[in-house]
């Protein structure tokens, strides 16, 4: 669905590439996690996968970046907005501020797409339902908690019915409750809607529990790729400044296996 071939990218006026010769193939319905230390290129990769690089940021690129076989650079952002959605770290910055209720806020993107009214209502109801915030529909988007705001942001993007949802550290400003809400909503999307979800995240235990595949970045390069367990349990994670779950750390000291556990379930099984 989205394919990168030896893709490199330089932000305007920089010498060092933010992404270096990345090759990656993301297929439909996958739940992909992206890990990496701060500055490893997670955000830039998110922007590339959603078309904001090269459309929003200029800068130089090399290699190929295609969406459904079409060159991403040839599609314009307006066209892409209905295909690929991007959710950011800070919930507050994503609330348009031009609408007064959650329902109207979700409608904002649909109004911009020029959808007829009846379809808007149907899509809004569905989006509210998907992230489980029906009860917030008539509240002001500014009067709710951070976790709820982030779910409003996700619903606003989902209502535009993208086939790919890219999220750049959506839970980093949230408390454990908010984090759980967001992950629950995402896993429901993947399982019921076959939407492709790509998620950059530091919270390894959550990633390991939900993702099909994990990609590790370091210094703008792709360093590892595979199942959560393969990638997140490896010692390389320590060198890349990503760290490991404490399950992996404890098991590394106790077990002589290459396949260390990364989740509570795996650890329980391995140490029983």
């Amino acid at each position: 669905m989205i394919e990168l071939k030896k893709f490199s990218y330089w932000y305007p006026g920089t010498e060092e590439p933010a992404l270096q010769r990345i090759s990656l193939d993301i297929s439909e319905g996958e739940f992909v996690g992206i890990v990496g230390a701060n500055g490893a290129g997670k955000s830039t990769l998110c922007y590339a996968l959603s078309g904001f690089v090269p459309h929003f940021y200029n800068g130089e690129s090399e290699g190929q970046l295609t969406f459904n076989g079409q060159d991403m650079a040839a599609l314009d952002l307006g066209q892409l907005a209905g295909q690929v959605g991007l959710v950011f770290q800070n919930p507050f910055n994503q609330i348009s501020g031009a609408r007064f209720t959650v329902r109207e806020e979700i409608a904002f993107g649909l109004e911009n797409l020029g959808l007829p009214r009846s379809e808007m209502h149907a899509r809004i109801d569905e989006a509210l339902d998907l992230v489980n915030i029906q009860d917030l529909a008539d509240r002001s988007p500014f009067s709710v908690s951070g976790g709820q705001q982030q779910r409003i942001a996700i619903a606003s993007i989902l209502a535009m019915q993208p086939r790919v949802l890219v999220l750049d550290e959506p839970t980093s400003q949230l408390d454990p409750d908010g984090t759980r809400d967001v992950f629950t909503a995402l896993s429901k999307l993947v399982s019921t809607r076959k939407i492709t979800v790509i998620l950059a995240e530091h919270k390894l235990e959550w990633l390991a529990t939900f993702c099909d595949r994990v990609i590790a970045l370091g210094g703008g390069k792709l360093r590892a790729e595979g199942t959560p367990q393969e990638v997140l349990s490896s010692e390389q994670m320590l060198r890349l400044g990503i760290g490991r779950t404490q399950y992996s750390e404890a098991a590394a000291r106790l077990l002589r296996t290459k396949k260390l556990p990364v989740t509570l379930e795996q650890a329980k099984k391995a140490l029983k």
Binding site: S50, F56, A81, V87, N90, R99, E111, G114
Partner: protein
């Protein structure tokens, strides 16, 4: 809601009127405020038209309170200034060598009544119309959507700006910044206070711009709206009548001034 928005949610006929009808009514109020010749006329308009509309909109208490809060101080200051300084024959009382005259009092009250009528019209519009609806009505008549967006966000984001300003003051106090009255300490407060507020907002701008793009803000498709604004032929006629009345009032005033 605090801060920017003064809209008050109610179910009423006034709320259901098309926003432009209420804009036309406000225009009439401004024209009346400028053109009506006497205190009696102004008060009659307020009591005979604006107050009933406020009652119809179930906004009576809030409407009167806002009127009092804004116009009250003017009534006092205007009557004092006009009463003492605008001259006149009928002296009501004296303070030292200053005479307070009935003519001055009347002039002050008339001026305050003009404010009251203009303000009353604006309040009826703003308290009964969500800004989003007003902007929608205007953009449907050719007002630029980007400008409408800026106006709306300015109204909405203002309260969160206030919240952030409070956090910044807390943070700088915790770094030993003494909050005292006095010009010097106010000046000392300015940079630590305004600096983070502006820098933070500038940092947010790029993310905000991207988030807007993610919502197809620059999509070339003609925009639609979630809510339809109910309108009717009778309202359209009413709007024209209101605008005509406003224009007629102003013309009459101009004509009588030229006489």
């Amino acid at each position: 809601m605090r801060g920017g928005s003064i809209y008050i949610e109610r179910t009423s006929g006034l709320h259901r009127l098309h926003p432009l009808t209420k804009v036309a009514l406000t225009a009439l109020c401004f024209a009346s405020a400028a053109a009506l010749p006497s205190l009696a006329w102004l008060l009659a308009l307020f009591v005979g038209l604006l107050l009933p509309l406020a009652i119809w909109g179930r906004l009576t208490a809030a409407f009167l309170k806002s009127c009092l809060l804004v116009v009250g101080p003017f009534v006092i200051s205007l009557t004092i200034i006009q009463g003492f300084f605008s001259g006149g024959e009928t002296v009501l009382f004296r303070l030292g060598r200053f005479a307070f005259t009935q003519e001055g009092l009347l002039a002050g009250l008339t001026f305050a009544a003009r404010l009251l009528v203009a303000l009353g019209g604006t309040l009826l519009l703003m308290q009964s119309t969500p800004q989003a609806q007003l902007m929608q009505a205007l953009t449907e008549r050719g007002f630029p959507p980007r400008l409408a967006y800026v106006v709306l966000t300015a109204i909405q984001i203002f309260p969160s700006f206030q919240d952030r300003a409070q956090v910044i003051i807390d943070a700088q106090q915790a770094r030993g910044l003494e909050l005292q009255s006095g010009l010097l300490s106010r000046v000392r407060l300015l940079l630590p206070m305004v600096g983070p507020l502006i820098l933070g907002s500038v940092m947010d701008v790029s993310e905000r711009a991207m988030a807007l793009e993610a919502r197809a803000f620059s999509s070339p498709a003609p925009k639609t709206s979630l809510h339809s604004l109910a309108d009717s032929p009778s309202q359209r006629i009413l709007r024209w009548l209101l605008v005509l009345a406003a224009a007629a009032l102003l013309a009459w005033r101009l004509w009588s001034a030229l006489q």
